[in-house]
């Protein structure tokens, strides 16, 4: 029952993928474009197998993934701590929010070259770019989440003489978790963009580097492989957040 239901759930997804691949193949056949402009699905598949076999794909994916994970962790840490402080202090929020909003007016693409100049073309500059792009959505959701904790539950906790630490762990964290994970969902997908933006500026390794290499060498199939890997990374991160929500938010109807 549940297995057949599961199949019924993913069947439309599989069918749409098959349909998209067929449309792609037909476009290639009809237009007769050269391969370095539009490779066929099979070209990309063979390129994928080749880069998998020589280990380069996994190596560069690993680099990008570690940038993303380190960037996410850094961004989330700073954003939740800052967000909590802002949620608790209206005065501080008034002072800091103009800067925070102004910082959002600057596209990360515009300051990425600066960060690479300052921090070098290694992993550090990418981690920082990634953290910056993740920071704001997680910050906003932390503020909203903590502010939405019902006053009645604060009264309850104080009436049984809860310490600040107990209020944080047993009330504020679980109560704001739904909104917090919503921010993480946005942050997780943005973090992939952050890492790639950093790598495209200047890098010796990573999927962004692979993408650029393919571009320079007219190895368009390679570019496709790198793009599909990025999609896979973003989907996996999104999936992880969804799993966290299922695990911790099952009390929501």
């Amino acid at each position: 029952m549940s297995v057949s239901k599961h199949i019924r759930n993913i069947l439309p997804v599989i069918l749409s993928i098959i349909f998209a691949l067929m449309a792609w193949q037909v476009t290639v056949q009809v237009t007769q474009l050269p391969r370095f402009i539009l490779p066929a699905p099979m070209d990309v598949w063979l390129r994928f197998l080749k880069s998998l076999a020589d280990g380069s794909l996994l190596y560069h994916t690993g680099i990008t993934l570690s940038e993303i994970i380190l960037g996410l962790l850094t961004g989330i840490t700073f954003a939740t701590v800052t967000g909590y402080v802002l949620a608790k202090s209206r005065a501080l929020e008034k002072v800091l929010s103009p800067y925070l909003v102004a910082s959002q007016a600057i596209p990360v693409v515009a300051i990425a070259p600066l960060l690479v100049i300052w921090l070098g073309d290694g992993i550090l500059s990418k981690v920082v770019i990634c953290a910056l792009i993740v920071f704001f959505p997680v910050l906003v959701n932390t503020v909203v989440g903590v502010r939405a904790v019902p006053n009645a539950l604060y009264d309850l906790m104080r009436s049984i003489r809860a310490t600040r630490w107990q209020i944080l762990l047993k009330l504020e964290l679980p109560a704001s978790l739904p909104v917090l994970l919503g921010g993480l969902r946005i942050g997780a997908t943005l973090s992939v963009i952050g890492a790639i933006v950093g790598e495209l500026v200047d890098a010796e390794e990573g999927l962004g580097f692979l993408l650029q290499l393919g571009d320079f060498q007219y190895d368009t199939s390679m570019v496709f492989v790198a793009v599909f890997m990025l999609i896979a990374l973003a989907l996996s991160l999104y999936g992880v957040v969804t799993l966290l929500e299922r695990r911790f938010l099952n009390w929501q109807s």
Binding site: P150, L153, L156, I160, L171, L249, W251
Partner: protein
């Protein structure tokens, strides 16, 4: 005014909330004593500062003037039941009830056993693992009562706990609370705007006036216990009810 056997003395208590025209006086010069194991009810219309009084007693609000003096401890253990049950929606019934013990650092096994005992006391056996969203209003309030009692508080504060329930459930909850109070022998301070509720439950009813809240009347409820539904149709109940009704503006 202070008698030697009182557990709690409130002296000249006033609460003024700051506002644009010189402050809003919620409570003015309130003084009363509470004896151990006494069930006291504050009766008053909305805006009489009933909830404000409970918040001061629960140490959720600092009074503007006056004193609250507990005889045994400077900071007594409080159990509070709120107008809305105020349960944590992510915790099961059992986990909601054992929260006060968790905060006190009681071991998990001991806390669970005590919580199961409380669940039996309030008649929720079988609902240990239910989530608040699956409970009716009356059941949620039972969880609230169990949670307020589990850490053996010195003082139980009830803030119109049955106001949001339908009439039949409310009357059933009076019986339940009366039974639980007799089993647990706690000192209780309850606020309500229901004359019937106060007479059915309390040993003593204090009537508060419309803002600013002052004590207008202090009545002993000398109805026999245990009280059943029939007591509400006796002439003495009617006489007390009339007296209270007359005192409420």
């Amino acid at each position: 005014m202070t008698t030697s056997k009182s557990i709690l003395t409130v002296l000249n208590l006033s609460v003024v909330f700051p506002d644009s025209n010189g402050g809003l006086t919620a409570l003015e010069n309130i003084s009363f004593d509470v004896a151990p194991r006494e069930f006291i009810c504050f009766l008053g219309p909305s805006g009489s500062g009933k909830t404000t009084l409970l918040r001061v007693l629960a140490n959720l609000l600092q009074p503007t003037a006056g004193q609250v003096h507990f005889i045994h401890h400077q900071h007594p253990k409080i159990g509070m039941v709120f107008q809305q049950a105020s349960l944590m929606p992510w915790r099961t019934v059992l986990d909601n009830i054992k929260l006060p013990l968790e905060l006190e650092g009681v071991g998990e096994v001991k806390a669970q056993n005590k919580a199961r005992e409380m669940i039996r006391l309030v008649g929720l056996k079988g609902f240990e693992n239910s989530l608040p969203r699956d409970l009716s209003g009356g059941m949620a309030q039972r969880v609230g009562i169990a949670r307020a009692l589990i850490h053996d508080p010195d003082l139980l504060l009830l803030d119109e706990p049955f106001a949001s329930l339908d009439a039949l459930t409310r009357e059933r909850m009076w019986m339940e609370l009366s039974r639980i109070w007799q089993a647990k022998q706690k000192t209780v301070i309850m606020v309500t705007h229901s004359i019937n509720e106060s007479l059915f439950l309390a040993d003593r009813v204090l009537v508060l006036t419309q803002r600013p809240g002052k004590i207008k009347l202090d009545v002993e409820v000398d109805l026999p216990r245990p009280r059943t539904d029939d007591i509400r149709y006796t002439s003495h109940f009617g006489k007390l009810a009339k007296k209270l009704r007359g005192a409420i503006e």
